[in-house]
């Protein structure tokens, strides 16, 4: 086992059969994470993030490709207690208090963190004596995070960790995660919030429809998918002229109005108003991640479905 190696996913492929159809959840993914790095797996629902994480953790067997965690098979890393994970689904077992549950999980690892320290870190201390079946959704989520942390893992994997949390809980969660990552730990988390990836990861791997569509520092990824659109009613508009305005990548007509896709909406709106002072009903909006992804991936995937059915 070489400790120098981080995580390597190579050519991962995974399909599921649901009745008649075959869903190709993951279609050939290559990702490498260096030790000590914090990486976000960013993508809309159905992008294949959870399936990728399941394969990374050895919970699902890939149809093709290989997974290496610290230079060995996922199960070897897990048996050695080097991996802590917070899965998206699953509830806690009942008839134990939050503290007892965290202590029980700590007892399974070779070098766990101090239970009380983890209870403090994750903000559980105040309800540590309450039974798990009496916790709210957000509180359970914190306990699940504590369970992942208490193992004192070298690799921490979090699948959509903040979904059930309120705003305050989210903030506290990320502060704790950052603190843990700063101890030289490797962290991989899945999210469909661009802001979370931008604020808390060094790097983002952008996934859509089972593929990696971009992989780079978060500020680059943000520029790529953080696009905005301007929608306005512009009498006498010429689409070609609008398309070549500064900051505009494309222009199209939708009924009465035109829609401009922008990389720099500030420059674009100034140029638009200079050219067409009569423009009205102006709306500027951030394109959703989903839409940004669709643009990045194009419409190529329809062919793949046919290929699968054959």
């Amino acid at each position: 086992m070489e400790s120098g190696a981080g995580i390597e996913l190579r050519g991962l492929v995974k399909s599921f059969r649901t009745g008649e159809r075959t869903v190709r959840a993951v279609r050939g993914i290559d990702v490498a994470v260096a030790p000590g790095e914090t990486v976000a797996l960013l993508g809309p629902n159905g992008a294949g993030k959870s399936t990728t994480i399941d394969m990374l953790l050895g919970l699902q067997k890939p149809d093709g490709g290989t997974v290496s965690v610290f230079g060995s098979e996922p199960n070897a890393a897990i048996d050695a207690g080097r991996v802590g994970a917070m899965l998206q689904t699953g509830s806690l077992i009942r008839d134990l208090t939050a503290r007892e549950l965290v202590a029980m999980m700590a007892s399974l690892y070779p070098s766990p963190l101090d239970v009380d320290e983890v209870l403090d870190l994750t903000g559980i201390a105040e309800f540590a004596g309450r039974r798990t079946e009496k916790l709210s959704g957000g509180e359970s989520q914190r306990v699940r995070f504590a369970v992942a942390l208490v193992s004192n893992p070298e690799l921490l994997v979090l699948d959509e960790p903040t979904v059930a949390m309120d705003v305050e809980g989210r903030h506290a969660f990320w502060v704790t995660m950052r603190e843990f990552a700063s101890r030289g730990k490797t962290v991989l988390f899945a999210t469909h919030y661009l802001e979370e990836a931008d604020a808390y990861a060094d790097r983002a791997v952008l996934m859509a429809r089972g593929r990696v569509v971009a992989d780079g520092p978060t500020n680059e990824i943000k520029a790529m998918v953080g696009a905005r659109t301007i929608r306005a009613t512009v009498p006498g508009a010429d689409l070609d002229a609008l398309g070549s305005l500064p900051g505009v990548t494309r222009a199209e007509r939708r009924g009465e109005s035109v829609v401009l896709g922008c990389t720099d909406s500030d420059a674009a709106i100034r140029a638009l108003l200079a050219l067409h002072p009569g423009a009205r009903d102006i709306e500027i909006s951030g394109a959703g991640l989903e839409q940004a992804f669709l643009e990045l991936t194009g419409g190529e995937d329809e062919d793949d479905e046919a290929e699968v059915a054959a």
Binding site: L59, A85, L87, G90, R94, L101, M104
Partner: protein, 245 residues
């Protein structure tokens, strides 16, 4: 050993669940007093050569311990359906250790149930020499092994919705044909079926009180065969269940 902590929490969870404890220990006791108390002066129940209080003590011990063992299956099924077993697969806890903790917990529950029935038996006048108590207890504990395997099989085959009816049905049939409610004697069809069931030998453990040698070859072979067959099936169900994901 680090795993004793895990086992301790598993036991804590089980014995803290008040509803579970009341039902598991209460049911056999209530049934025992209902059936055996009115017949407590019957000395040779159904030509078994045993007094009613003694016979029903082991009869209901068979029922109670069997239920206690099989309840481990319900717990496994629940942990599977809530996704907790996925969380456990991400820890260094091995499958063997997981099952060991579940079976040990089940055994401790079964043993408690057994002691309570012994106590109830003495209240109704059961008196046995020490070696008979010990031999009987030993045979019952061995006779429970196939039920541990059956619990794991159920846990991986069934969902929490179906595990209740499946176990209720299985326990009812096994207890009935095993002789929990009345002695099964003679050479009829039912007696033949009964002798190949593992529950029959649990109840049969009371026969050590007659001075007999307990089970005899047939008993040991039957229990061994069930243990082997159910373990193989449980192993297969476990592998199929985890390979599917």
């Amino acid at each position: 050993m680090i795993r004793t902590a895990y086992l301790r929490f598993e036991l804590l969870r089980t014995f803290r669940n008040r509803r579970y404890v009341l039902l598991t220990f209460g049911f056999p006791l209530v049934l025992y007093f209902l059936i055996a108390a009115p017949n407590r002066h019957v000395q040779d129940l159904g030509k078994s050569g045993l007094s009613a209080p003694l016979y029903y003590m082991t009869g209901l011990a068979g029922f109670g311990t069997m239920s206690a063992m099989l309840s481990a299956g319900g717990r496994i099924a629940t942990e599977r359906s809530t996704g907790w077993n996925r969380q456990l697969r991400l820890t260094p806890l091995t499958v063997r250790e997981y099952f060991r903790a579940k079976i040990l917990t089940a055994y401790l529950t079964a043993f408690t149930s057994l002691l309570l029935l012994y106590l109830a038996g003495t209240v109704l006048g059961v008196r046995l020499p020490l070696h008979a108590w010990l031999t009987m207890t030993g045979l019952i504990l061995v006779g429970l092994i196939p039920f541990g395997a059956l619990a794991i099989l159920f846990g991986h085959l069934l969902t929490p919705d179906s595990v209740g009816p499946a176990m209720g049905g299985a326990i009812a049939i096994l207890a009935f044909l095993g002789g929990t409610w009345f002695p099964i004697t003679g050479g009829g069809a039912m007696a033949h079926i009964a002798r190949v069931l593992p529950s029959y030998w649990l109840v049969r453990a009371s026969h050590v009180a007659l001075g007999g040698g307990g089970w005899g070859t047939t008993g040991w072979l039957t229990v061994a065969a069930w243990t082997l067959a159910l373990s193989v099936l449980a192993g297969r169900a476990y592998r199929r269940d985890t390979a599917r994901t």
